[in-house]
């Protein structure tokens, strides 16, 4: 617990969190790609992979946190936040291990949080998503009043306030880093910035959420129930959650 804020050069101490499950093929290049652009520590949270994910991450000089059993992408992410908080990091950036989030976007994603414009920054790439996914996002926007383009993006930056909210006991009930997380942040009075970034196609595999009709149906149902449960009358009256937006073009 030695790293303070701000550091001598005026920047915040930042941790990159990469939750990974069976991503041996891509995790190494993801870590090396991050290192090309920023000099931040990278933590790979290995969610009980059965392949060489942990070894590949270590070979790329990342710190690996090994989960004793599968806790899900969100559980792994929370483990990363706990690490960041315990070791005094002021900021954490989260990205997927499948290679769809380029390391070059990290300085842009972390900037609004570092400058104190908002507590959270979300990297979005609307062109990338299928029309079905756009329909799902639209439904979630309607239900929650969350005026965000992409509610499921895994490329985000969080400050300490946000990380503290997201490591609470209540946050451990969530399963995905999406609507539930955003609702929780808004309820805590925190703010977000949306930034348009370039994203790549996944190096291997496919989305863990959108991989079969059954999981899609279950995911939609879960998110609808969650949105209904967390509904507040004030949701649709204001847009306090969005601090700034740089997504290029209209919505």
């Amino acid at each position: 617990m030695t790293v303070g804020f701000p550091m001598a050069d005026g920047t915040a101490s930042c941790l990159v969190i990469v939750p990974a499950r069976n991503e041996a093929a891509s995790v190494g290049s993801v870590v090396r790609d991050v290192r090309r652009y920023v000099d931040w520590r990278v933590v790979v949270v290995d969610d009980a992979s059965s392949d060489e994910t942990a070894a590949e991450a270590e070979a790329a000089d990342a710190l690996v946190l090994r989960m004793p059993f599968q806790v899900g992408a969100w559980g792994a992410m929370q483990t990363g936040f706990t690490y960041a908080l315990r070791h005094g990091y002021e900021l954490s950036c989260t990205m997927d291990a499948d290679g769809q989030h380029p390391g070059e976007t990290l300085p842009a994603i972390s900037a609004p949080v570092m400058k104190g414009i908002s507590d959270v920054a979300i990297g979005v790439c609307p062109e990338r998503a299928s029309s079905a996914r756009h329909a799902a996002w639209k439904l979630f926007r309607r239900m929650t009043g969350l005026n965000l383009q992409d509610v499921t993006s895994g490329l985000r930056a969080y400050n300490r306030n946000a990380m503290e909210v997201l490591t609470s006991k209540e946050a451990a009930l969530l399963n995905y880093q999406d609507v539930g997380v955003l609702l929780m942040l808004r309820e805590a009075g925190l703010t977000a910035t949306e930034l348009k970034v370039r994203m790549e196609a996944r190096l291997n595999g496919h989305s863990r959420v959108y991989d079969s009709w059954w999981t899609v149906a279950r995911y939609l149902m879960e998110t609808c129930v969650l949105s209904a449960g967390k509904w507040r009358p004030s949701w649709h009256l204001d847009d306090m959650f969005i601090a700034s937006r740089d997504v290029g073009g209209d919505r």
Binding site: F69, L173, N175, R218, M221, V225, L226, A228, G229, K230
Partner: protein, 122 residues
């Protein structure tokens, strides 16, 4: 006497309301809640369209349709019980793994502290 679809509707409404309330108070995971909401929808549907149960009973050769509804209710409960047991077994397993891991870490930490003390005094 009130109509059957009112009874069924009230049961569905109370069930759905309770589930939403539990989610709101962070007492129930959305994943579990979704299953209960589906059940509430089914109860509401059987209340609104009682003919559905009658039709299904006729197809399945059951002479007294309410028996089918009861049977389905029991089946759902049975499945839920088994699922609960599976979940509980998994939780137990995870707790054991965690306990083992913690004890190993504690031993490792003790070892390291002892080594440091030895080098400090030596």
């Amino acid at each position: 006497m009130i109509a059957y679809h009112w009874t069924s509707g009230i049961i569905a409404f109370v069930l759905a309301g309770t589930i939403i309330w539990l989610v709101r108070n962070n007492r129930l995971q959305a994943r579990t809640a979704a299953g209960w909401m589906v059940l509430a929808l089914i109860i509401a549907a059987t209340g609104l369209f009682p003919g559905m149960v009658d039709f299904a009973a006729r197809v399945l050769g059951i002479h007294y349709p309410p028996t089918l509804a009861m049977l389905c209710g029991f089946a759902v409960l049975l499945v839920k019980l088994v699922k609960n047991d599976i979940e509980r077994s998994r939780s137990q397993q995870q707790i054991r793994i965690l306990a083992q891991k913690v004890s190993h870490l504690e031993a490792q930490l003790d070892d390291r502290n002892n080594e440091r003390r030895d080098t400090d005094s030596g």
